[in-house]
Symmetry: C3
Subunit: 115 residues, 3 copies
């Protein structure tokens, strides 16, 4: 079964496609921006990577959301709830994890289908 990598780098690939499943690297927004801005940025990056992987918003299987501070749960959710495909909501989990630096407030990990 083929493996294809999108935007491979020295530390990670931004997406890895195996058969008809794609695993995205944890996506983050611009450091220092608001939770709303970072979450919107993440959503845009996910959409772009899904498109490059031959997938789309309707095919997200699982989303794991890390918040650096769970106090930001409602602010992240406002963006999330408006963003997901209402006909095709993914499985989801959200927990608190500090991220690479304190300027990063949200990170989202995605597994999606390509068909």
């Amino acid at each position: 079964m083929s493996i294809k990598r999108i935007e491979p780098g020295t530390r990670m690939s931004q997406a890895v496609i195996h058969g008809n499943t794609v695993y995205l690297a944890g996506q983050v927004g611009a450091p220092g921006e608001s939770v709303t801005a970072q979450t919107k940025d993440i959503c845009s990056k996910i959409e772009r990577l899904l498109t490059e992987s031959g997938s789309d918003m309707s095919k997200i299987l699982q989303a794991t959301i890390w918040l650096a501070d769970m106090e930001d749960f409602a602010e992240m959710n406002a963006v999330w709830d408006a963003w997901i495909d209402p006909a095709n909501p993914p499985a989801r989990a959200c927990g608190e994890s500090k991220l690479a630096t304190p300027d990063f407030k949200v990170e989202i990990l995605i597994i999606a289908a390509t068909d």
Copy 2:
């Protein structure tokens, strides 16, 4: 390859089946209850969702466990060790992550096979 969603809501689906793999939403127990009670509640919810997905306890592939406080490791494990199918133990990881509110002490993420 087909995608089927179980209990889709405005924020997430409780389970998403892709081919012969099912991804469950992070399951939590009743807020404010003991770690033992929350873990047992989670196990029941997982069993129900696996059944609805055409899977069962013998087909759990990966479990990721989040504890709000790692001090609860032994209490959660006592329920876990008695619960899993001894003939078919899943891959597992357990880390500390604060959850949606302080009343939630355990959350478990499951990937399982449907055949």
Copy 3:
């Protein structure tokens, strides 16, 4: 579709193979050792389990890294960057989660392809 378990125990299996995907248990190093030593130990364990699963370093799809303290990000990355297959970097995410005991500083969760 077949499910095969590697090193099944009373709490978990060290790896579970489903079709052509393998899920590893969260791997940790020797407690109390340095971040460098623990990460190297983890990498060795991952390589061994991938081999036992009929996979290898070139087929890692997704790596989720938990650090007990994000201050150790650079030290873990130095081992990681030297370890991964430069031709086949996986999708990756890294967040802070305290682990089973304070002596454990790094844990890595792997999903890989077997073909």
